[in-house]
C-alpha cells in the first residue's frame, strides 16, 4: 500500500493536473481566437452587404472590390445572402461582380482541394447559390463526393442552373445513394420539371426488376412533376411489375397525375391480395375524382382489413356526392362498413351533422358514435 501511494499515485496526480492545465490553456486560447474571428466577420459582412447594395442600386458603379475582399469568407456570405434576397435583372449585376473577381473559380478550387471540410461545404453552397455553367463540371464531379451534404448541394446547384446533362447522372444515383440524400436529389429533379420525366421513366423501366427503393422514389418524383406524358408509360410499368412497393408508388403517381385513363387499371387493383395495394388503390380513386367509382368503393368498405375500409370510405368522402352516399351507409347492415363511414364523415369535418343524423336515424351503436369525436361541446 505504501509503495502504491508513494509512487503511482503522485504520478497519476501529476498527469491529471497536467491535463487540466492543458485543457485550461486550450480553452482560453480557442475562446479568444474564436471571439476575434466572429466579431470581425460580422462587421465585415455588414460592410459588404452595404457595398453590394450600392453596386446593385447604382448603374456603372465604381466602388472597388479588392482581391482581399473577394477572398474573404465574409464577402462570400454577403454574396450568398444578397443572391437570396433578389431576383430578376439585378442578379446579373451580382453575377458580373462574381465573375469579375473570380469568386466562382476560387470556390471551385476550394471544393476540389481544400482540406477543411467546412470550407468545402461553404464552397459547395456558394456554387449552388452563385454558380453558372462554368461550375457545372465541378458540381457534376462532386455528385460523388464523400460528404453527403456536398453531394446534395452539388445536385442542388446543377438544378438551379438547370444543367440538363446532370439529370441522368442524378437519377442513376437513386439506387445507390443513402436515403436522405436520395430524397434531396428527388427534390432537385422536381425542380427540373418535365425535363426530368423521360430520364426518370427510363430509370424506372430498367430498374424496377432489381430494386424497389430507388424506382419507388423515382415514381414519387414523377408524381410531383405532374407531366401527363408519363401516364402511358406508368400504366405499362403497373402492368409489368410485381413488386408491392413499386405498385403502390405507381398507383400513387397515377392518382397525382389525375388522368382518367388510369381508372380501369386502378380499379382492377381493388381486388389485389395485398391489403396495402387495395388501400392505396381506394385512395387513388378518391383523388382521381370520378364519381362512377363510388359503388365499387362502397363494396370495398366491407373489406376484411380495417385500413382498406377506412381508405375506401375516405375516398368516397372526397368524391362528388360521396358524403351523401356515406350518410346512407350509416345504416348499412355490415357494422364495419357503417363504422368506416362514420369515421370518414368525422374526418371530413361533418362532426356535428353526422352525429345528429346518426341519432336521428336511430343509431345507438356507441362505438360508432364515439368515432365521431369526443364530447367537445360546451
Amino acid at each position: 500500500m505504501r509503495m502504491f501511494t508513494n509512487q503511482l499515485v503522485p504520478m497519476a496526480l501529476l498527469v491529471i493536473f497536467f491535463i487540466d492545465a492543458l485543457l485550461l490553456a486550450g480553452l482560453v486560447v480557442l475562446k479568444s481566437l474564436h471571439r476575434r474571428h466572429m466579431r470581425s466577420h460580422d462587421v465585415r459582412r455588414h460592410e459588404y452587404l452595404g457595398l453590394l447594395s450600392r453596386h446593385i442600386s447604382f448603374e456603372n458603379y465604381h466602388e472597388p472590390i479588392t482581391e482581399t475582399m473577394a477572398e474573404d469568407q465574409a464577402f462570400l456570405d454577403a454574396l450568398i445572402d444578397m443572391r437570396n434576397a433578389i431576383t430578376g435583372d439585378e442578379v446579373s449585376t451580382l453575377r458580373r461582380i462574381v465573375n469579375h473577381h473570380g469568386v466562382i473559380e476560387r470556390q471551385m478550387r476550394y471544393l476540389d482541394s481544400s482540406i477543411l471540410l467546412s470550407r468545402r461545404l461553404r464552397a459547395a453552397v456558394a456554387l449552388a447559390e452563385l454558380g453558372d455553367e462554368i461550375s457545372a463540371g465541378t458540381l457534376m464531379r462532386h455528385l460523388d463526393d464523400r460528404e453527403p451534404e456536398i453531394r446534395i448541394q452539388s445536385a442542388r446547384g446543377l438544378g438551379r442552373i438547370q444543367w440538363t446533362p446532370a439529370i441522368d447522372q442524378i437519377v442513376s444515383r437513386f439506387s445507390d445513394e443513402i436515403p436522405w440524400v436520395r430524397v434531396r436529389f428527388s427534390d432537385t429533379l422536381i425542380g427540373y420539371g418535365t425535363k426530368a420525366t423521360w430520364p426518370l421513366l427510363a430509370y424506372i423501366r430498367i430498374n424496377h426488376r432489381f430494386d424497389s427503393k430507388g424506382p419507388a422514389l423515382a415514381l414519387r418524383t414523377l408524381a410531383q412533376i405532374q407531366d401527363d406524358q408519363a401516364v402511358g408509360p406508368l400504366l405499362e410499368v403497373l402492368d409489368e411489375t410485381t413488386d408491392l412497393e413499386i405498385q403502390i408508388a405507381t398507383v400513387d403517381a397515377l392518382s397525382e397525375l389525375g388522368s382518367s385513363e388510369a381508372l380501369p387499371a386502378v380499379e382492377s387493383l381493388l381486388d389485389s391480395e395485398q391489403w396495402e395495394l387495395r388501400s392505396k388503390s381506394a385512395s387513388a380513386l378518391g383523388k382521381l375524382g370520378d364519381p362512377s367509382a363510388i359503388p365499387r368503393l362502397m363494396t370495398v368498405m366491407r373489406d376484411e382489413n380495417w385500413w382498406v375500409r377506412r381508405s375506401a370510405a375516405a375516398a368516397v368522402a372526397r368524391l362528388p356526392e360521396g358524403i351523401e352516399a356515406l350518410y346512407r351507409s350509416l345504416d348499412d347492415e355490415d357494422p364495419f362498413a357503417a363504422d368506416a363511414a362514420a369515421e370518414a364523415l368525422a374526418d371530413a369535418g361533418e362532426l356535428v351533422t353526422a352525429r345528429e343524423r346518426a341519432e336521428e336515424i336511430g343509431v345507438e351503436n356507441e362505438p360508432l358514435l364515439a368515432h365521431m369525436g369526443s364530447d367537445v361541446q360546451t
Binding site: G50, R54, N60, H62, A85, I86, G88
Partner: protein
C-alpha cells in the same frame, strides 16, 4: 440593368441638390434581415428618399405610430410582433401611411389578410428591386 427607377450616379460625384427636409419623402423599412435592410436602405436613399429602419415588430410599430411616414415597408416574419400584428394595430388606430407588405414566397395568406387591414400592396421575397422601386414611386 434597367435603370428607369433608379438614379444613375457615379457614387463619388453624387451631389444631391439641396432640398428642404419637407420635400423629401420619408420611408420606414421594417425587416429583421440585415441583407434586406441594407439593400432597401441603399436603393431608397439613392433615389432620394429619407429612410428609417426598424429591426423588429415592436420598434416598427412604435416608429410607425409616432413618425410621419409617407410609406412603410413591412416584413411579416419579425421578432416581437409579426407584420400582420403591427398592421392590425395601425389599422385600428387609423394610421394614414400606406403600408407595403413583404412576404415570403409561399405565404399568400399573409398577403391577402394584410389587404383586409389596410395594406396597399405586397411584394414577395425575393423581389426585383426595380419593380419594388417602381411600385414605391407609384405610391409617392
Amino acid at each position: 440593368m434597367a435603370s428607369g427607377a433608379l438614379l444613375c450616379h457615379d457614387r463619388h460625384s453624387v451631389q444631391l441638390p439641396f432640398s428642404p427636409v419637407s420635400d423629401k419623402k420619408r420611408i420606414l423599412v421594417a425587416d429583421d434581415s440585415e441583407t434586406i435592410r441594407a439593400l432597401l436602405q441603399t436603393a431608397l436613399e439613392s433615389a432620394g428618399y429619407e429612410v428609417d429602419i426598424a429591426k423588429d415588430g415592436l420598434s416598427a410599430y412604435e416608429l410607425g405610430s409616432n413618425g410621419e411616414y409617407d410609406l412603410i415597408i413591412l416584413d411579416q416574419l419579425m421578432p416581437g410582433l409579426l407584420g400582420l400584428d403591427v398592421i392590425t394595430r395601425w389599422h385600428e388606430e387609423g394610421l394614414q401611411a400606406p403600408v407595403l407588405m413583404l412576404t415570403g414566397v409561399d405565404d399568400d395568406r399573409t398577403a391577402v389578410e394584410s389587404f383586409d387591414r389596410g395594406a396597399v400592396d405586397y411584394v414577395r421575397k425575393p423581389f426585383r428591386i426595380t419593380e419594388l422601386m417602381a411600385r414605391i414611386r407609384m405610391r409617392l
